[in-house]
Symmetry: none
Subunit: 208 residues, 4 copies
């Protein structure tokens, strides 16, 4: 997953992995440190040698990822996108969707923890806004403006556009890969085309 690199001992990696899985599965408050210790194959005391409290463990699970992995991950994608200078914004969307699918399914455990615990831990919220929110949003505005300038996207305040595009993509991935993976879905390509279609032309009949 995301604890591979770094200069952590095997034990520490085991603790982080076990904690991540359990926090995602049962929630932070409902997970006991003894469960984490058992799953990680270490003694309870060992956890507290590395992390000064259970909360510290949560922040460690969540924060370095936020800072070191997710931030760069997202940014790298965006730079790729911008560097690639797709001829058409639809290609950008397609690339974005593909990338988001990988990212979300790769990090589903981590994202569950963030979504679950964000509202309850002020520190997490600050980190999230700091390292992802502002930065990314600004980048995205740049992307939108880029294609607006190319005459491919309608003019107007980018924020509403970002919100619509973002939420459409997000809700598709959420529905297909997280909430209802067992439902009958069409081929990925067809579904993605459909979304891009809708985003491009809207749902209204042309003659309106």
């Amino acid at each position: 997953m995301f604890n591979d690199a770094d200069n952590l001992t095997e034990k520490q990696k085991g603790i982080l992995t076990a904690a991540t899985e359990l926090f995602a599965e049962k929630g932070y408050a409902a997970t006991s440190t003894s469960e984490i210790a058992k799953k990680a194959g270490v003694a309870e005391g060992t956890i507290f040698r590395h992390y000064k409290s259970k909360k510290d463990l949560l922040l460690t699970v969540v924060s370095p990822v936020m800072i070191k992995i997710i931030g760069p991950y997202i940014k790298k994608d965006l730079y790729n996108v911008l560097d690639a200078e797709f001829d058409h914004y639809e290609d950008f969307l397609r690339a974005m969707i593909a990338n988001r699918i990988n990212f979300i399914t790769d990090n589903i455990l981590f994202l569950r923890i963030v979504v679950q615990e964000l509202p309850f831990h002020e520190e997490l919220k600050n980190q999230a806004v700091e390292h992802i929110g502002k930065d990314i949003f600004e980048k995205l505005r740049g992307v939108i403006r880029y294609y607006q300038e190319k005459g491919q996207i309608i003019p107007g305040h980018p924020d509403a556009i970002i919100r619509m595009v973002g939420s459409s993509i997000f809700s598709y991935i959420l529905s297909r890969y997280v909430l209802f993976p067992e439902s009958a879905w069409e081929d990925e390509e067809i579904e993605v085309d459909r979304i891009i279609q809708l985003l491009s032309n809207g749902i209204g009949m042309i003659d309106e």
Copy 2:
């Protein structure tokens, strides 16, 4: 809020209100029954006279709302919408958005609890799918088809349309009223127009 009516004693209402607020604020697992009792101004034992366990209290907080309030609430709106037979689907969307804003802001505490605890309580999930999911989704398909038949909405499988429209509206409300209420927002009317615009015509330039 939503525990007004019914034939509950003052104490019971106090317990439900306190529990709702605390569950929303700190999460179910991190809220202790003694906190609820203190906030409700009753003895801890009193809680267990009315609710046989803490979990039972959670289900009571969440379930009757789901069954008695939300279901009818949403359905009533849809019936109104269908009965009203808006001349144009844009009016339907406008009504829908206005209604959703009220609903979400009115029930924000309740919704937070549901979203937070859904993954951890099988019973909740069942209730949610049972009382909201199936029913509502089917109704919405009807609405989409209605406007498709009137020639106002493009043909095509309604589910993708529902997803895009729904997530756009939801993400707007979430952003404006829950996540970033302190940000600088334009007048409600303008923002809503913008969303409907985007949903209708898409983000692509017409000549594409």
Copy 3:
């Protein structure tokens, strides 16, 4: 059972009966007053209107019986026995056994409570010794002496004789009617004959 007479209301009798059965079945400490109330078909508060505490209820269940019923019951038997002036002590034993069987099986619930709770409640112990122990033991000594004087029972200190006779009878009834009622037992008459035989002649061979 034994709460028939007296000037108790229906409710009070119900409470006493329910308490007796539950104390016998689950033990005093493991029986809750709410269980007693439910079984008696009264409100919890009603119990405390009649008995000032749970312990008071136990003493009421146990004590008046001890004083008013059991004492006279046993004494009456002994007087019957003495009045009847059986020709032979074996007839006395036979009558005694028959009577004890009735008594024990009639009062098995009550006796269970006494045996279970006696060690834990000083008051009960005092009552038991006071009202049964001394009195009865003295009477029994008289009976033994009576048959010793008639030349039917060997001379010697009556206490050891009482103990052996009493415990033999008691252990027979206990085994047959309480502990192992489902075992294969011979006819009552045969078993009783056997016991009296053994008590009369002992287990040693005559020529010894």
Copy 4:
């Protein structure tokens, strides 16, 4: 007492001893785990580190004794008895009584718990019947038959004989050492002779 050996830590031994004494003194249900902890000089949590529940503690207090100590203890005696092949069953009885006295007074706390809790815990009953009941009773039948064959004990079904002998011995020890230790008792030897006398020859006059 009986928790001496084994590889238990000091704390564990303390908990077991405290629990044994309190269960014997006040009964299982009326003893709180906090009392046990205080008496044992440990934190309450420590109890649950070693015994997963209060009931588990009861079974631990009672069960290994039943299995490891009492079973072999009794059996060893019987084997001794059989191996010794007393010339006369009276010597067997004498040995038996002496041994029972030691056993009962040594294990009085433990026996009180067993007697008190047996009716309320199915598991205990099973253990008791399994490890003591069947086995021992069968052995005893063998002993009786052995002396019957030697012509020292009258023929007849051994069970009634066992019951009479057993209950006589038991009631003597119970009376002298448990219930009324403060009464005026004759020398042990004299009392035992008297019992054996009565058991051998019965209470009836010989010419009967």
